[in-house]
Amino acid sequence: MLTTRSLSFEYNQANRFEFPGLSVAVGSDLLVLGESGIGKTTLLHLIAGLQKPKTGKILIGGTDVARLSGKQLDAFRGANVGIVFQRPHFIQSLTLEENLALMRFLGGKEADPHWIKVVLDGLGLIGKQKSSPRQLSQGEQQRASIALAVINQPKLILADEPTAALDDKNCHRVVELLRGQTKKMQSSLVIITHDQRLKADFSRSVTLTKNDSLRASTH
């Protein structure tokens, strides 16, 4: 599903990142671990096509994201990639339901109120459709941001530090939710985090190191 090859990126001469290859099969997941400042978020942005790599290939379902640009890239991202951000964010002037409906529109999917209900139900958010994002509790916001990421049934779901602010109990619940949703959507999941607690939950993980290389480990 996701394959990257010899990715590199540089903000400037002094701030350079190199990311060796990753590969995630359809329906499986991968944990990317790394300390702060190691380029985790940069990697996520590269995969999502939010930034252009200096070199390398990013294949999502056979499409090289690095070669797309402009509208094509926006449309591809909208349809195929879902992102869960570290802190949940929403369009504040819209209700939760409208947020989800807008994301479907942006992803080029047809309007489907029933599907929106199904997703919300799966995340325990039924009854909150008409709420403004501000009115949701912290936990509800976290789950709502997962709903945003999966609403378009993307091929690839990227999560950026989804558990950083959570206690142990909630940390594992969120991971379970993410994996459960990903399974349901038959998507691939990549979690990028510094949170070592998650290591136990994943069969495959890679750790980013300072030597501009990825050390793959399996347990």
Partner: protein, 441 residues
């Protein structure tokens, strides 16, 4: 949920700043639109009141005052002119006809105007009830007069001296209403019309309070008819002829009373051919004790004076619109800074630069357009209030509230301002760095 609906929701989601922008914008638009309408109505009203009148002759003084008093019945007259002199002028072959006007009295603020039947004819007045005057002290009243004073056919009333309320009341003389005109929207609606004799009679210098009515009326007629008839002034048939005969006979047949002292206030003159326009005003102003004024010319002068006032007001309103444009800009710009993350989020979920650019323009234009519509509503409300006031005061009809061409330009200006105020925020949205915005939040 589409980007278009998101744009609308975004505007609604900040009622305070949207409200402020709308208020300023609609205020400016409303003011200008109101000015456009009032200006148009005034011009139409005034132009319709000068129809059939090419030149006004009256006493020396301000030509504008002469026009205002004799045509629009608003200012005080410049003074009186000798009837004999007026008659003389009317012999000029360039003049088609001249309608005499004579002032003196009023009733509850409405002017009593001595004239002849060509005056109502000139304004195509039709009688709703009764008939025109047939003798001295009989009057036909305008629709507004009838409505405001409650005078009906056959009613008697006493005029008070002067053209405003509160003058000396001529207690010995009763006017009788013989006709009521249909409302026409012209100046005649505000007038009480009588023949010239009524005015002369009531102000005759030798009319003493003790003298009985019949005597005075009789004397009045002696003047006009130069004594060629017996005291038969009351008879209808003769009285109808008065005004014409007065003009025809008065000059040269004044022997009985040792000089014709009768005066009128003004003459409304229609030229026989356009040459009159060139020759007559000059001739009158240079060779006689009278003054000639051209309504069209004076009206244009008045409009250009009014134009300064309207231009100033329009400028102020335009500045208000500009300020509202700035307010739209600030509101968009600030909210975009707050919403940078939202924009990045939208981009992440597949929105293109173009879509977001469109959304920002849409928000600016939406406010501009709603402000414009709201402004039109305000201006119509204002117009309605003005028309209520004017209807009570002048019986002028202000009810036409269709769109005027000027409002088309106003729409263009408003939309342009909406567009410009959204331009900078839109550019900053277009240039947004998704990755950086997401990381900074």
């Amino acid at each position: 949920m589409t980007i278009f609906r998101l744009g609308i929701k975004n505007v609604i989601a900040k009622p305070l700043s949207t409200g402020l922008s709308l208020l300023l914008l609609s205020l400016g638009v409303g003011l200008i639109s109101l000015m456009l309408h009032i200006d148009r109505h005034l011009r139409e009203q005034m132009s319709s009141n000068i129809r059939g009148i090419d030149m006004v002759v009256g006493a020396k003084g301000s030509p504008l005052q002469l026009i205002l008093s004799a045509v629009f019945q608003v200012d005080v007259p410049t003074g009186n002119i000798k009837l004999a002199e007026a008659e003389n002028l009317l012999r000029n072959r360039l003049i088609d006809y001249g309608i005499p006007l004579s002032y003196g009295d009023s009733y509850q603020g409405f002017r009593i105007v001595g004239t002849d039947e060509r005056y109502p004819e000139n304004y195509s007045m039709r009688l709703a009830e009764g008939s025109l005057w047939s003798q001295s002290m009989e009057v036909a009243i305008g629709a507004a007069v009838a409505e405001r004073t409650g005078l009906k056919l056959g009613d008697k009333f006493q005029g008070s001296h002067g053209l405003s309320e509160g003058g000396h009341v001529h207690e010995s003389e009763d006017y009788v209403v013989t006709g009521i005109f249909e409302a026409s929207g012209s100046v005649v609606d505000q007038l009480i019309l009588s023949n010239l004799e009524s005015v002369w009679d009531i102000h005759a210098p030798h009319a003493h309070e003790e003298e009985e009515h019949g005597h005075k009326e009789g004397e009045g007629h002696e003047h006009e008819e130069g004594g060629s008839h017996e005291h038969e002034g009351h008879e209808h048939a003769e009285a109808e002829e008065h005004s014409h005969e007065a003009q025809e006979h008065a000059v040269g047949e004044e022997s009985d009373h040792g000089g014709d002292d009768r005066e009128i206030t003004a003459l409304l003159i229609k030229f026989k051919n356009p040459l009159g326009l060139v020759q007559l005003p000059r001739m009158v102003n240079e060779n006689t004790n009278m003054q000639a004024a051209l309504p069209n010319y004076e009206l244009n002068k008045l409009f250009s004076l009014m134009g300064i006032a309207t231009t100033t007001l329009n400028l102020v309103a335009l500045i208000v619109i500009l300020v509202s444009g700035i307010s739209v800009f600030i509101s968009l710009y600030l909210s975009l800074r707050e919403r940078t993350y939202e924009m990045a989020l939208l981009r992440t979920f597949g929105a293109s630069r173009g879509q977001l650019l469109g959304m920002v323009f849409q928000e600016g234009l939406l406010i501009a357009f709603s402000g414009f519509l709201l402004g039109l509503v305000f201006s119509r409300l204002g117009l309605w209030v003005v028309s209520l006031l004017l209807k009570a005061e002048y019986h002028y009809d202000f009810s036409q509230t269709g769109l005027v061409a000027g409002e088309g330009y106003l729409l263009l200006v408003t939309v342009l301002i909406g567009f410009l105020s959204a331009l900078l925020p839109a550019i900053s949205v277009y240039k947004i760095d998704i990755s950086k915005s997401l990381s900074d939040a």
